[in-house]
Structure formats: structure tokens, C-alpha cells
Symmetry: C2
Subunit: 492 residues, 2 copies
């Protein structure tokens, strides 16, 4: 009866898809490359959003909303940014359908309703936002502008995967405007720290903070900071980016301000974002062959209670005790579900909540109540214990903290073991092909070599870690001199 | 120095636009008919969203997310719905831009990247959602599905107005699937009650609940329930709708289920939504010539404290007392801002917070502190009182409740005075042209007459109120027999 998913060892990619579908996180849709985020998946996104939104507000940001469409003339204004996204843009060209004269009941695009200027469905909002900031900024008194937007964006990717890469996705994008370069740099770094803290403390997913190589930079940025996570199959995943945009967009949109010295300058900019991709990362970082493993801090259901009825007699008594536990857990702010649905058996429920990654499961029957205990099972280690009903809420509360810590430590151990130094090209390839993970290797600093490495190994530079130790060496591919190792990996 | 807006008596429509722009709620954008929702306006939307979202969840609904795009073949499946929205659809026809060979640095649509099937940017999501529900529903056990989505939608309106009618807007759309007609009808009504309660209790905006005439129904619905509010200029505004869709969408998308009797049936549907239009309604329902008047329950800032410094000496003492008040108010859950910005003078601040509709303003200076008082001004009545600092938080808390009630009662009084019976066509026109508001009049029940009335008077049937008294009469226009009066108005 229980749903089954392909084991990771057999086909990691299929395991991932099976899991997303069977845990009810998302579904395919009738639109190429677009997914439906189902209620359980969306509940995780809501939890992520609420935590991040609070962090953004605590760091002085406000939310706003800018148009979905970017007129082509604005889209092309910042040339590098336009070039970076032009190849994957959904373009609106018409604003009306009409009846098909040859096909009753069918519609066709009305050729008379062609737009004078095409509209690009935003792949990112720098263009439309900086065109707006232009009208908001005259003096240093108007700065900084610290705005975030929660929105959908569209990038017409050719190869898509649920959550990881979809044509439409949900994200937040911060867009800030500053009077000085220094202030913009502080902001860029601050937001990367916010992301890193979110990934580690809430998602229980260790990340490496660093800066992207020029090749991997956001189109239009002077620098892209990133957090990089490691998935269980040894592939890296970029989990969040924070861009220092310099004055590129201010120049493209002519956004100037009068500074305190009464001189006119271009404004400094940052942008930063994370997306529903994080759900894919969360799934791949922790889960196993039986289903999701969710960190308690983001789990939509933290504890499920399954009553075990034997015959009708004991039902009322078990439900009464069950609701008592529910209320005690709720009083502690724990998200708890009591599942007394009589259409399914306990064994089916156990498998279902394992699939859904509910961190703690409590089973309670008539005999348990007599003995003043309940069976408490944790999802991460599958450990089961008979636990006294006295102080059960405290026990569960501690257990949730323990699970959060355990999931993180497990992922951290794996990540730390998965950083390998390689000193020759052969070593480099061997590590990638056998062990996977991050490969720490010398690189000559040129985009050309980086491209070649990518072409030959499918590995990219994930980042140059912050505070990277400086040490002379020679590039693994070109043999040219290098001043530091950087982190390579095959990546999502 | 203070910003000024056109008085309502001079030009109501201009007053509205001035207010939206000067209070910082929204701004025009570079995209025809699309607006930028600025942080202050978005903060109101966030408050609305949080309250509604809680109500939806309390009534058993979950959030999910469906694709922005609707393939044309799905869009046209439910014929009436398609017909209703076809004339105002943004259509994506291409998925790539390329460099313009004749214009270096410019982009053009790549003709080789034409989509095989055009994608409609959702004007509403019934089509894409029912196409998905089809795969989720087999048996009565899969029902009901109670899903809500927070999303942006696009309707290519020809005449747009900030918040009230924009090409893109934000909204929520509930889409539910049920095993029986009765259950779907209960849901439709339940959600209208949720909207009505939100409008009256939170927005302080009285509404009339009723059902739409056939002409005014949502395209594809069997019945549309609505809440209708009255604006200060005597025009009505539809503030929310809840649709009983019958089996129309289930039939269009072939969504069937096996019922308890093991027979196959089509599923019953509802949909319901409110949008950022509510912000426009909120503004027009309460505000005056000095700016916004916001109900305390939705105000982003409920209390502003303005310190009045005379010379440098007293600053520290005033700020200390000010922060004491801030903390005491925060402890009561009151949203308070302490504005000690020294770039602007108190008089400027007073005008600014009046413009922004902050319900309560507290001014405090050195002399006040000596006398153990503060000046408390309420935005709605402009009343100012010297209030003892002892128990100030309690005083303010009560005052906020009083303001909420007063705003509602004022709007209710105006609305009640603005329902006028008309028994002849001349009376009908006279009421519309002089007094405005709702006109309660007999109508023969035909769409034809309704159309004619609209053509001749610009008034539409806003609704047939629930529990409408039945009384024989004759239609104001056709003179044909009528069984009840219905509510007409000119409307936004």
C-alpha cells in the first residue's frame, strides 16, 4: 500500500522526482517547464518566506511591488544584463484574442491587437525598478532605498526540473540604492550573511560563502556573492546570491543624486535573491529513500499523532488523551496534527508521514495510556522510544531541537568530508568522477581556462570562499601560476 | 511646504489620484496600465493579506501556486469564461529576443523562437487549475479540494486607474472542488461572509451582500455573490465576489469522480477573490481633503510620536520619555513610530502623517513632560486633547478602537442615507444625477432592460440583496411587472 520511490543508489535524479511528486510538494503542469506548487510544498515556501521576510524587515527593508512586464526598450538598457537574459525571455506581443473564423469555439491571436512595443515577462526586475528609482531619487536625502519584492519571474530554460529549474519560479528580489560604494558593499555582504544564516539555522543546510568568478557573475553585476550548498549526490547547488551592481544600472537608467557636497553622482546599487529552488535544495540535502526529512524549524507539520485503535471501545479514551497532548504541544507553539482518519490504517499513516518528512511521530494506543507512555519516533534516525506521558511536551520540544541539530551536523559532516584538494588535472577528474563534492584546486584566474575546465569536466567554479587562504600554486589545467585555490564542483 | 491635494469638491477623481501619489501608496510605471505599489501601499496590502489568509486557513483552505501562463487550448475550453476574458488578454507568443542586426545594442523578438501554442497570461486561473484538478480527483475521497492562491493577474483594461483598475493586479483566488451542489453553495456563501466580515470589521467599510444579475455575473459562473460598498462620491464599488461555478469547469475539463454510491459524476466548483482594488476602496471610503484616513486595524503605523524640541537642552529628556511611551505602546501590540528626524519640522511631520492617515498622533515637548501630559490628536475627527501620561497606553488603545468604530459608523450612516427608492424613470435619473448612491428600484428581470438602463443612465445593477423583500411593482424602465426591487448605482 505504501508509496514507493526509486532508491537514491539506483537513480538519484529519479529519486528526487519521485519524492517531490509522492510527498505532494509539486506537480507537473500543462505549461512547458512550469510546475504547480501543491499545498504541502507551498506551506514550506510560506515558512521560508515568513522567516526571510522578518529578517529583511529587521535589516531595514520594506516590501513593494513592481510590474510583471518590462518594455523591451527598458529591458535592453543595461547591456550586459539584457544580453544575459535575452535568450530565455517570454515575450508578450499581443493584448487580445478573437474568435477563429475558421474554427467555431476556438480563439486566435488578434493580429490587430499587436503591441507597439513588446513586453518582456520579467526574468529579474533591475530594469523596471531602476527606471522607477530614477523618479524617486534626487538627493542624498532620498537614499538609501531598501526595497524587497516577493514575486514570480520567468526564464525560458530549456531543461527544467521541479523546483530546481523551472520556467516560472517564485522568489524574492531585493533592490537597494545607496549614496556610496562602501554602503552598497556593506549591504551586499549583509544580505549574503542573512541568506547564510537562514540556510544553516533554518534549513539545517551548511553553506560556503564566497564570491563568484567573473564567468559566473550575475549579468550586469560587478561582483556576485553566493552561498553554495552540497547535495547528497556530491553536486553543488547555488542557494542564494547577493550582487554588488556598482553604478551599472544607475548609468543605464541615468539615476543621479546630489550628494552632501552638492555634487551630482550616479547611485550605487545592490540586488539579492533566493527562490523556490531552495525547496529543491532542502529536499536533496537531507532526505532518504523513505521520503522527505524536513528540519523541524521549517516543517509544516512538526509532530503527528496517530491513535492506535483496537476495537471501538477504546476510541473515545484514546482521542481524549490524544487531544490533551495536541493542546499541550500547541501551547508550546509546536505545529501538531492529530490524524484519526479512519479511512487509512496506522501502518499506511506511518509510511505517509515518513514520506512527508514529519520530524516526530507519536503513536498512542489503549495499552500505552494504561502504562502512561506513548511511542515517539523521530524521522531523521528512525529511532523509536517509549516515552512517559509526564512531561511529554518538554520531551518533544527538546527532541525537535535535537533533530534540527542532528540534521545540520550530518549534512555538515558530509559537506566537510566532501571538500577535496586536487593538484593535477588527473586528480581533479578522478575526484569529480568518484567522490564528487567540492574540489579545491588552483586556477590561473582567467575566464578562458575556466571555460575549458567546464567543457572538459562539467565542473564550474562554485566560489572563491571569503577569507580564502592565499598560497602560490599552479593551475590544474593550464599550469600557469595561481595565488589561491578555488572551489570547483559539478552543480545543479 | 506641506503637500497639497485637490479637494474632493473640486474634482473627486483628481483628489483620489493626488492622494494615492502623495501618500506614497503607488506610482505610475513605464508599462501601460501597470502601477508600482510603493512600500506604504504594499504594507496595507500585507496587512489585508495576513488577515484574509488567516481567515481562509481557519475555514479549512490551504495555499498553493499554479502557473502564470495558460496555454490557449486550455484557456478556450470553458467557452463563456474564454469569451469573457479573450478581449483583454496579454499573450506570450515568443520565448527569446536576439540582437537586432540593424541596431547594435538593441534587441528584437527572435522570429525563430515562436511558440507552437500561444500562452495567455492568466486573467484568472480557473482553466489552468481545473486542468490540474482533473489529475487529482478520482473519488469522493479526494474531495473537497479547498485551495487558495495569492498571485498576480493581468487584464488588458483600456481605461485604468491606480488600484481600482490596472492591467496587472495582485489578488487571491480561491478555487474549490466539491462532491455536491449543496456543499459548493455553502462554500460560495461562506466565503462571501468572510469577505463581508473583513470589509466591515477590518476595513471599517459597510457592504451590502447580494447576488449579481445574469449580465453582471462572472463569465462561466452560474451565480456570482458579491459585496458592494459605497464611496464618498456616491458611486458603488464591488469589493469582493464569490462564484458558484456549478459543473461548468468540471465539464469543460472533464473532471469526474466516483461518488459514495459508486457512480461517476462531474465535480462542483466555486471560485472567489479580492484584489488590490480593496486599497482603492479603502482610500475612497474614508479619506478627506488632508489625506488618507486609515482604519487602525489595517494601518501600517497606528500611532506616530513627534517630539517637539525647543533648543538642544531638552532633547535627551524628551527622547527618553518618548521611547518610554514607544515601548509601552509596543508592549500592547500597537504599531508605533517615533519620528525624531531632525531634517523636518514638527509642522511638516504633522501634515505628512495626516496625509498618510496615521490614526493617532502624539506630540510631546519639554513643557508637556513637566506637566505629565502629551498632546494626542486623532486623524479621523482632528480632535486634539492634552492627555495624562499616566495610563497613556490604555488611553491610546481605547482611542484606536474608538476610531475604528467611528470610521465605520460614519461610513455606515452615509451608506444608509444613500439608499433611495425610485419609482419612476425620471426619479431614477434624478437620484443618480443629484444624490447618487444606491437606487432601489423595480426591474423586470431581463438582461435586455438592464442593458438599456445602463446605456441610458450609466447605472448598473450592483446586486439583488440577500433576503431581499418581495413586493410587486413595475419596472422603472419597461413598466413590466416586477417582484422585487434591486439595487442600482453608478459604479467603479
Amino acid at each position: 500500500m505504501a508509496k514507493e520511490i526509486t532508491p537514491r543508489s539506483e537513480d538519484y535524479s529519479k529519486w528526487y522526482n519521485d519524492l517531490i511528486l509522492k510527498a505532494g510538494l509539486a506537480d507537473y503542469s500543462a505549461v512547458r517547464g512550469c510546475m504547480v506548487i501543491k499545498p504541502y510544498g507551498y506551506a514550506i515556501w510560506e515558512n521560508m518566506r515568513d522567516v526571510l521576510d522578518k529578517k529583511f524587515k529587521e535589516t531595514g527593508h520594506e516590501n513593494a511591488y513592481f510590474p510583471l512586464f518590462v518594455p523591451k526598450s527598458l529591458f535592453e538598457a543595461e547591456e550586459k544584463n539584457a544580453e544575459g537574459f535575452a535568450k530565455e525571455c517570454a515575450v508578450v506581443t499581443h493584448y487580445r484574442l478573437k474568435n477563429d473564423p475558421n474554427n467555431p469555439g476556438k480563439l486566435i491571436v488578434d493580429p490587430e491587437a499587436k503591441l507597439e512595443e513588446e513586453l518582456v515577462v520579467r526574468p529579474t526586475s533591475e530594469a523596471i525598478i531602476w527606471n522607477t528609482y530614477k523618479t524617486w531619487i534626487q538627493s542624498y536625502r532620498d537614499l538609501p532605498i531598501l526595497i524587497n519584492q516577493w514575486a514570480n519571474v520567468v526564464r525560458w530554460e530549456m531543461r527544467t526540473r521541479l523546483f530546481l529549474r523551472t520556467a516560472e519560479f517564485l522568489w524574492q528580489e531585493g533592490h537597494t540604492a545607496h549614496a556610496t560604494q562602501e554602503e552598497a558593499l556593506v549591504e551586499t555582504k549583509q544580505m549574503l550573511e542573512v541568506y547564510a544564516d537562514f540556510a544553516e539555522t533554518w534549513m539545517a543546510m551548511p553553506v560556503i560563502k564566497g564570491v563568484k568568478s567573473e564567468n559566473e557573475r550575475f549579468a550586469g553585476a560587478l561582483d556576485t556573492y553566493c552561498i553554495e550548498a552540497l547535495m547528497q549526490d556530491g553536486k553543488a547547488l547555488q542557494a542564494g546570491t547577493s550582487h554588488f551592481l556598482g553604478q551599472n544600472f544607475a548609468k543605464a537608467f541615468d539615476v543621479k543624486f546630489v550628494n552632501k557636497e552638492n555634487k551630482t553622482e550616479h547611485v550605487w546599487a545592490t540586488s539579492w535573491g533566493v527562490s523556490t529552488r531552495l525547496i529543491g535544495a532542502l529536499v536533496m540535502a537531507h532526505s532518504d529513500d523513505d521520503g522527505l526529512i524536513l528540519p523541524p524549524k521549517l516543517a509544516p507539520i512538526q509532530v503527528v499523532i496517530v491513535p492506535i485503535y483496537k476495537g471501538e471501545d477504546s476510541k473515545a479514551g484514546i482521542d481524549a488523551k490524544g487531544m490533551e497532548i495536541v493542546n499541550a504541544l500547541k501551547a508550546k507553539g509546536i505545529k501538531v496534527k492529530y490524524d484519526n482518519n479512519d479511512q487509512t490504517r496506522p501502518g499506511w499513516k506511518f509510511a505517509e508521514y515518513e514520506m512527508k518528512g514529519v520530524p516526530v511521530r507519536i503513536a498512542i494506543g489503549a495499552r500505552d495510556i494504561e502504562n502512561n507512555v506513548a511511542e515517539v519516533a523521530r524521522r531523521d534516525t528512525k529511532e523509536k522510544n517509549s516515552v512517559s506521558l509526564d512531561g511529554l511536551p518538554n520531551t518533544v520540544e527538546k527532541l525537535l531541537e535535537e533533530i534540527q541539530a542532528n540534521i545540520f551536523n550530518k549534512a555538515l559532516g558530509f559537506r566537510n568530508e566532501s571538500i577535496t584538494e586536487a593538484n593535477t588535472w588527473d586528480e581533479f577528474l578522478q575526484v569529480l568522477d568518484t567522490k564528487g563534492g567540492f574540489v579545491s584546486a588552483h586556477w590561473d584566474g582567467t575566464g578562458e581556462t575556466e571555460d575549458k575546465i567546464k567543457e572538459l569536466s562539467k565542473a564550474t567554479i562554485r566560489c572563491i570562499p571569503f577569507d580564502n587562504p592565499q598560497a602560490d600554486g599552479t593551475c590544474i589545467l593550464s599550469g600557469k601560476p595561481s595565488k589561491e585555490r578555488v572551489l570547483f564542483a559539478r552543480a545543479y
